[in-house]
Amino acid sequence: MTQINVRVDGVTYTDDVEPRTLLVHYLREQLGKVGTVIGCDTSNCGACTVHLDGSAVKSCTVLAVQADGGEVTTIEGLAPQGSLHPVQKAFHEMHGLQCGYCTPGMIMASVDLLKENPDPSDTEVREGIEGNLCRCTGYQNIVRAVQQAAGEMRGATNGHVSAADVDIAAAPHVVGQS
């Protein structure tokens, strides 16, 4: 067992973990942060995405001991209780989810993307979330949601884009794809 100190969603925890414990297992099983889920074993699906020290990471490919001294934000701590992050709101508004299993990871990856690129094109959104798999939506409404959230976060005069507007604005992703 190795002792770790981690701040998760604003709360500091000191726990003993086996070194082999994955961060996602620590979050789910020791902290009860079951909003973060596991979708694969090979770091492909991104369902387990959380922020570690400000960057989106796949918590199934990080050992809990590697997060020692770090700060983790999960979907459960993305916005204060009772309120929603603009990306969460936009996923709802644009119907960017169906079964919702990929959604926490998809939202956390999108937030990370928007931090780096506050006004992504359709193609940039698609490439920005290439590490997150969704089996339900075909991604189109996820792309719309990320762009809508981007607008709101930029404080654009009309951050609230209707689905139809985004749809027209969004160029086919094949343009500019190598």
Binding site: E18, R20, R28, K33, V34, G35, T36, V37, I38, G39, C40, D41, T42, S43, N44, C45, T74, I75, E76, A79, L84, Q88, F91, H92, E93, H95, L97, Q98, C99, G100, Y101, T103, P104, I107, D122, R126, E127, I129, E130, G131, L133, C134, R135, C136, T137, G138, Y139, Q140, N141, I142, H160, S162, A163, A164, A170, A171, P172, H173, V174, Q177
Partner: protein, 831 residues
């Protein structure tokens, strides 16, 4: 905010049906407050891990569990022998022919394993890690038997046998012959007389449903009662089947499907792991949990598709189609699962598509191979049929030198011909193929792309452009119970709903249709809000728990709205009828003089005299002032059994770029116009179409479950089984026409499978259209760049792929139960 969400201030509330309501489900899903089965923790819970066969076909000569039994944290290790008397057989509910051969399917193999990944023992331990660690300590000796992997060999001369106690590898031979059924002419005669016959062999590759939430089961024993939480599409069917298989009486068993992360048919199953979990909980009297890994899921959750199709089409020189003959080999895998044999049989009635054939014959052999069993996957039989007909129509067009759309137009059912009874005996309900097609062409920008295609051909551009069509229909709304009975299915196709009017005027809707991402809570609320005149927000939809929603047949086959929604509407009508009696009593008027609008009964011609449904609910609860002889309840339930299927249709058009130097294909543009009948929620409908398109396109371009010569699944992780990401899929331009379905009170036809069924052939037809002038006749799915390149350079259909997995992760291909250690990089390692 879209305009439709603004409530007008007029008296009558705006109709909910047709509104783009944002989903009620989302609140928990976007905040991580979801109840997935794997989230559950119960006091004293034990964890299961399954020891699985690393070989495709063998006798189990011995199993030594002694080391595993002694491992830290291990509570028990059970083999198939230990549970042989109580595990029964995984059920197959669809004996499609009277003489269908079912070899029986133990949840844990006893004497013999028949596919890689089959369970041979189960570890029960105090933690998931301890269970996993002990898997490697179980020592199993196998006497290898030859693996049967190829359907054509398996049904050829002197094949090896998948099950050596059976006489052949054939499970069933199902025939539908239009001539014999009286729905068409004699097929052989029509072919003998035909001016043109085109024959093709198509391969429907094996797919994996790959729902995002891995399967998970929790069982809690309470005395002689058991509660099972399972990530399933079918809690009701599961409960019945578990009772039959294990002997736990049905009334002692409660099954709950909490939030379920996708299914696509993949969770329409009674799984070995569900049976094992129940058996272990019963044996040990402790709560247990099993949650699969992704590798386990890809290897052992049932697969889909996997057919070889021999299709013959007959026509005259002018392009009037005459006859269609389909001979299908359908891979069942090693065992028959819940509806494995029914999947190709569902397709039997769809191969003729939207075209008017004189004659039709379908025959299908269900074939056993030493692979994971197949069963329902989004579309289940209908994508296979649609692919065959839409591909062969293109091949016929080429043979005749006709435009593929002209050929289709010449032969499809005209709008004025509905209802139309087809050569397969189906009565198509409504539609207009021409209008949908015109709209789709406009969405695509067809003329411009055809002109560009011409330019690229003339300039010999290394990147060629093609346009492909799929003008499809499907049978949805599974299903009329009588039809299922005639096809020997083991259950009906009805659906149940109940509505409870609470004293405070709020409404509980209980549905037997169990969602896993479709948005039932939202759509059902819209239906009920309209019918009862109550606010959308005042409706709560309950589902997925056999003790809350005791009757139901669950969610699959695009049936939820068409059948389950219809039951909800009928229940609401019954509530209104009951409330009317109470209202008449309270308003001291005759029932016949009452109008019901906006949730209020009013006496015709007497302004100001009205009573709301909420007031009636409270009055019913109090029951102080109730009509004589009437029981104090306005709750109602309804069971809806459709009389016919519904038949959504649509036109899908794909424009595809093919890099002739590398073989890389890239969708340039995709447009489709679907007719799914009445649209209850346009957001949800659009979302279902998008998701279906993604899966159908993925079949065409990316996905394939590949087995090597020993029967190992090579595509055993998401590294090799390619579920596309956002960056791999195009933007979709979608539209709708609306022709109401006459068979249900909503007018809906079903949308869940449309995109998945329609898109695959459109994509393949587009790729072929791009390169046919270069001599390519066919390319096998998925259209890997290598296959496209080989088809261009060597002819043929691109051929077999090498079966080795990628060398990524040092060759991490198939997770075997033994946890094989291989030489890795010297030190470290990062992608």
């Amino acid at each position: 905010m879209t305009a439709v969400e603004d409530r007008p201030t007029t008296e009558a509330p705006e109709r909910e049906v047709g509104k783009a309501r944002r989903r009620k489900e989302d609140a928990r899903l976007i905040t991580g407050r979801t109840t997935w089965t794997d989230n559950m923790v119960l006091p004293g819970m034990l964890h299961l891990a399954v020891v699985r066969s690393p070989v495709a076909h063998a006798k189990i000569s011995s199993i030594d569990t002694s080391v595993a039994q002694e491992a830290p944290g291990v509570v028990a290790v059970l083999t198939g022998r230990d549970v042989a008397d109580e595990q029964g057989s995984i059920p197959c509910a669809w004996p499609v022919t009277p003489d269908m051969v079912n070899p029986g399917h133990p949840s844990i193999a006893v004497d013999e394993v028949n596919h890689v990944g089959e369970a041979v023992a189960v570890i029960v331990a105090r933690s998931k890690a301890a269970a996993q660690d002990a898997v490697e300590l179980v020592d199993v000796d196998y006497d290898l038997l030859p693996a049967v992997l190829d359907m054509e060999e398996a049904t050829g001369q002197d094949p090896d046998l998948c099950h050596d106690h059976l006489e052949s590898n054939r499970s069933f031979h199902f025939v539908f012959d239009g001539g014999e059924a009286g729905t068409g002419a004699d097929t052989d005669q029509v072919f003998a007389d035909a001016e043109v016959v085109v024959s093709r062999r198509f391969v429907q590759q094996r797919l994996i449903p790959a729902f995002m939430e891995p399967r998970s089961v929790v069982v809690q024993p309470q005395g002689d009662n058991y509660t099972m939480w399972s990530s399933t599409q079918v809690p009701h069917i599961l409960r019945i089947m578990l009772a039959m298989v294990t002997g736990v009486p049905e009334h002692k068993l409660r099954v709950v499907a909490p939030d379920v992360g996708g299914g696509f048919g993949g969770k329409l199953q009674v799984t070995p792991e569900e049976v094992i979990s129940l058996l272990v909980a019963r044996r040990l009297g402790k709560p247990v949990k099993w949650t699969e890994t992704r590798s386990e899921s890809l290897m052992t959750a049932h697969h889909g598709r996997d057919q070889i199709q021999y299709i013959d089409i007959a026509s005259d020189r002018e392009g009037n189609v005459k006859g269609l003959r389909c001979r299908i080999l359908a891979d069942m895998g090693a065992y028959l699962r819940l509806v494995s044999p029914g999947v190709p049989v569902l397709g039997a009635f769809m191969f003729n598509g939207i075209y008017k054939f004189d004659a039709y014959r379908f025959e299908c052999d269900g074939v056993f191979t030493n692979k994971t069993p197949t069963d329902a996957y989004r579309g289940a039989g209908r994508p296979e049929a649609t692919f065959a007909i839409e591909r062969i129509m293109d091949e016929l067009a080429v043979e005749l030198g006709m435009d593929p759309l002209e050929l289709r137009r010449k032969n499809w059912i005209k709008a004025e011909e509905f209802p139309f009874t087809t050569v397969a005996g189906m009565t198509y309900d409504s539609g207009d193929y021409e209008t949908a097609t015109q709209q789709a062409l406009e969405l695509l920008g067809y003329d411009e792309l055809r002109a560009e295609q011409q330019r690229r051909r003339e300039s010999n551009d290394p990147v060629q452009l093609g346009i492909g069509f799929s003008t499809f229909t499907e049978m949805c709304g599974l299903a009329p119970s009588r039809v299922l009975g005639s096809l020997s299915y083991g259950a009906g196709g009805w659906e149940h709903a109940a509505i409870r009017m609470l004293p405070t005027g709020k409404v509980e809707v209980v549905t037997g249709s169990t969602p896993h991402g479709q948005g039932h809570e939202t759509a059902w609320s819209q239906l009920v809000a309209d019918r009862l005149g109550v606010p959308f927000e005042d409706v709560e939809v309950l589902h997925g728990d056999t003790s809350v929603a005791p009757r139901g047949l669950d969610t699959y086959g695009s049936r939820s709205l068409v059948v389950g929604g219809a039951a909800v509407v009928n229940a609401a009508e019954k509530v209104v009828a009951k409330a009317r009696r109470v209202a008449a009593h309270l308003l001291e008027a005759s029932e016949d003089d009452l109008d019901y609008t906006g949730g209020k009964f009013s006496v015709r011609g007497t302004p100001g005299s009205e009573v709301s449904i909420q007031e009636i609910a409270l009055a019913t609860f109090a029951a102080h002032n109730f009509p004589e002889g009437v029981e104090p309840s306005i709750d109602a339930d309804a069971t809806f059994d459709p009389e016919n299927f519904s038949f959504p249709h649509g036109t899908h058009v794909c424009a595809m770029e093919v890099d002739t130097e590398t073989g890389m294909v890239k969708i340039r543009k995709y447009a489709c116009v679907d007719d799914v009948g009445t649209i209850v929620n346009p957001l949800i409908v659009e979302g279902q179409v998008h998701g279906g398109l993604a899966q159908g396109i993925a079949q065409a371009l990316f996905e394939e479950a590949v087995y090597d010569a020993d029967g190992n699944l090579t595509t055993g992780t998401f590294v090799d089984y390619l579920v596309p990401s956002a960056a791999d899929l195009p933007h979709f331009d979608t539209g709708n026409t609306v022709h109401e379905a006459p068979g249900n009170p909503i007018g809906a036809k079903g949308v869940g499978e449309a995109g998945c069924i329609a898109s695959t052939p459109a994509v393949v037809n587009a790729a072929l259209d791009a390169v046919r002038h270069l001599g390519v006749r066919d390319i096998r799915m998925p259209l890997t760049p290598e296959r496209v390149w080989r088809a261009l350079h060597d002819g043929g259909d691109g051929g077999d792929r090498a079966t080795a997995g990628t060398n990524a992760y040092g060759g991490a291909q198939t997770e075997t139960t033994a946890g094989v250690s291989t030489p890795q990089s010297a030190l470290g390692g990062d992608r």
